[in-house]
């Protein structure tokens, strides 16, 4: 992309410093450090069990790392939970889909608008102007996202009834609806065919380009990773093995030995 970016990559927005996490005896992350720059698309790669998802869970506040620090916009995140992280402006998708199965596509995406809706239950019960207005406004936003993701035809279907690929799309939609500054995407294209993957990449690139959302994505498909990411961090056995632009990662001997060398799905 020779074209000038609307949101040029800037200074670090999220810094992971010497983070370690273990479950009993299992070390999931060992002294990992890397940073994520404003407006960039950053891929996290590494073999199965390397600690990629655990890393997102630490950033997102689901897990508490035993050591190290995570800094978001110059603020140390300590004693956090997912709710607090959402309020700070980080949203995510999950590796194994975490949708609200019995709710419609539209309702799932509307939950993404949670932090933009402030009417309390009494205002909702009595349908005050405030409650009505915010419902209409946020529905409109969600309709836009649904249109953008080209899933109009299924917007009233309960997500549990949808095929896997579509569910992945809905989950992306829900994350987009939050309008978070940073999106953590855990294998958003897993289990998709080439066609679907290409579509997903288009969405991710477009959002990054048009509204400047910083994207952190875990992906196993090297073609995709090298194609869309600005920078790549490689985790191996919980350690950061390398961190840099795709061209550098491709040439890095450690990475080739540890990861690219071995056949991977």
């Amino acid at each position: 992309m020779a074209q000038e970016r609307r949101f040029p990559i800037g200074s670090p927005i999220l810094e992971v410093k010497n983070v370690s996490l273990s479950f009993g005896g299992v070390k999931a992350i060992t002294n990992a450090s890397f940073s994520i720059l404003t407006h960039e698309i950053k891929a996290i790669i590494g073999p199965n069990g390397a600690g990629k998802s655990s890393m997102l869970n630490c950033i997102n506040g689901i897990y508490q790392p035993q050591q190290g620090s995570i800094i978001f916009k110059n603020e140390l995140l300590s004693k956090v939970n997912p709710n607090l992280i959402a309020k700070k402006g980080i949203s995510r998708t999950f590796q194994n889909l975490a949708l609200f199965k019995r709710m419609s596509v539209l309702d799932n995406i509307l939950i993404g608008r949670r932090l933009h809706m402030n009417a309390n239950f009494i205002q909702v019960a009595f349908q005050t102007n405030k409650a009505r207005k915010e419902e209409i406004e946020n529905r409109k936003k969600c309709e836009e996202i649904i249109e953008f993701l080209e899933i109009d035809d299924i917007k009233n279907t309960p997500v549990g009834k949808l095929p896997y690929g579509l569910q992945k799309k809905v989950e992306l939609g829900r994350a987009l609806a939050t309008e978070a500054e940073v999106l953590l995407l855990d294998e958003p294209m897993a289990g998709m065919n080439v066609e679907e993957k290409r579509e997903m990449c288009r969405f991710i690139l477009k959002v990054n380009d048009e509204i400047g959302t910083t994207m952190v994505l875990i992906e196993h498909d090297m073609g995709v990773v090298m194609d869309i990411s600005d920078n790549v961090v490689v985790l191996d056995y919980g350690k950061t093995l390398a961190d840099g632009p795709p061209s550098e990662i491709r040439a890095n001997q450690d990475v080739i030995d540890a990861y690219l060398g071995v056949a991977h799905d």
Partner: protein
């Protein structure tokens, strides 16, 4: 949230039936006192159970405890606060029950499923025990059964079955509309998100603590108001034993059979659970002319409920409300 034309038509139809057709056509007090009044009261309690269980997904069992809290709160408010308007007493009773709801909803922050069910049972036993233990709640009445005060609204007393029915229709209509608004609006969405996938809900900025306790509080409010109405219009007396665990189970079954996560399911389930024994009895009396022993009839009742609950849990978790929708859709297509 917008009401569709269909919603309005349904609402008007229901209002015409309940405020015009029923009062004009139904003359026997029996129908009001033994069927319509208990049905509406228990349907209201079922809405409460529906909110916490069907919408927020918290397996709570103790609706009757909150009903007892509401009933005795209403009795004491009318007894001790001079000239308190009935609807104010009713609303306050709901709020007092809601406070208990928050208290006994606390375990939901740590445990779920069957463990939560056991933990919430505590509310049932605690509330009934407390009312029994402290004479103040019963105004030191030693007979054990206290007569409920007459319902007086703006100087007029509502004591005939039809009058009491009209009071209940008013309260149930208002509270049902509010419940529908919450259920279809952002409040209900948050409950359902917690029900379907709590970790994702939290990651989207929903506070599990607030959302769960809110559902418990609102649920207990509905049960409290229902309990007060139940005592003042159906039982016409106040006795803690009327709010035993069996009633809690009944309300639970109403919600399961009616359909989890639908407001209409609360009404359908309550109607079924109330009317089915009546139906069985009349079959026993009219078809078999009393040849079947009453105890056998009541066991048949238990067996049928048990089997139905299992069938619904397995094949149609959305209950009779869903079944009804499916039937209606089939007819519409034709």
């Amino acid at each position: 949230m917008e009401y569709t034309k269909n919603d309005l038509i349904n609402f008007l139809l229901l209002m015409i039936i309940s405020l015009l057709i029923i009062p004009i056509t139904v003359k026997s007090g029996y129908w009001y006192s033994s069927i319509l009044i208990p049905w509406l009261c228990l349907a209201l309690a079922s809405i409460g159970q529906q909110i916490v269980m069907g919408y927020a997904g918290q397996l709570a069992l103790g609706a009757a405890g909150f009903m007892a809290a509401g009933a005795f709160a209403c009795y004491n408010l009318i007894l001790r606060v001079p000239d308190i308007p009935f609807f104010v007493a009713l609303a306050l009773s709901g709020l007092i029950a809601a406070a208990f709801g928050i208290l006994f909803g606390l375990p939901s922050l740590r445990v779920r499923g069957i463990y939560l069910m056991v933990a919430t049972l505590a509310s049932q036993f605690f509330i009934v025990w407390m009312i029994d233990k402290f004479g103040w709640f019963k105004n030191y009445d030693s007979s054990g059964i206290i007569t409920a005060q007459d319902i007086v609204i703006m100087g007029k007393s509502f004591t005939s079955p039809l009058e009491m029915y009209l009071v209940i229709v008013f309260v149930v209509t208002v509270l049902t509309l509010l419940a529908i608004n919450m259920a279809r609006g952002s409040t209900g969405r948050n409950w359902m998100a917690v029900r379907d996938m709590d970790i994702a809900a939290e990651s989207m900025g929903i506070s599990l603590l607030r959302t769960k306790l809110q559902a418990f509080a609102i649920s207990a409010f509905y049960c409290g108001v229902a309990g007060a109405l139940f005592a003042f219009t159906y039982l016409k007396s106040l006795e803690p034993v009327a709010f035993d665990i069996k009633l809690s189970f009944k309300i639970l079954f109403m919600v399961i059979l009616g359909g989890l996560g639908t407001i209409s399911g609360a009404f359908i389930g309550a109607a079924f659970i109330l009317l089915f024994p009546v139906l069985l009895n009349s079959i026993g009396n009219n078809v078999f002319h009393g040849a079947i022993d009453a105890t056998i009839i009541s066991s048949i009742e238990q067996v049928v409920f048990g089997v139905l609950i299992i069938i619904f849990m397995i094949y149609e978790p959305l209950g009779m409300a869903k079944l009804w929708d499916n039937i209606r859709l089939k007819f519409k297509k034709k």
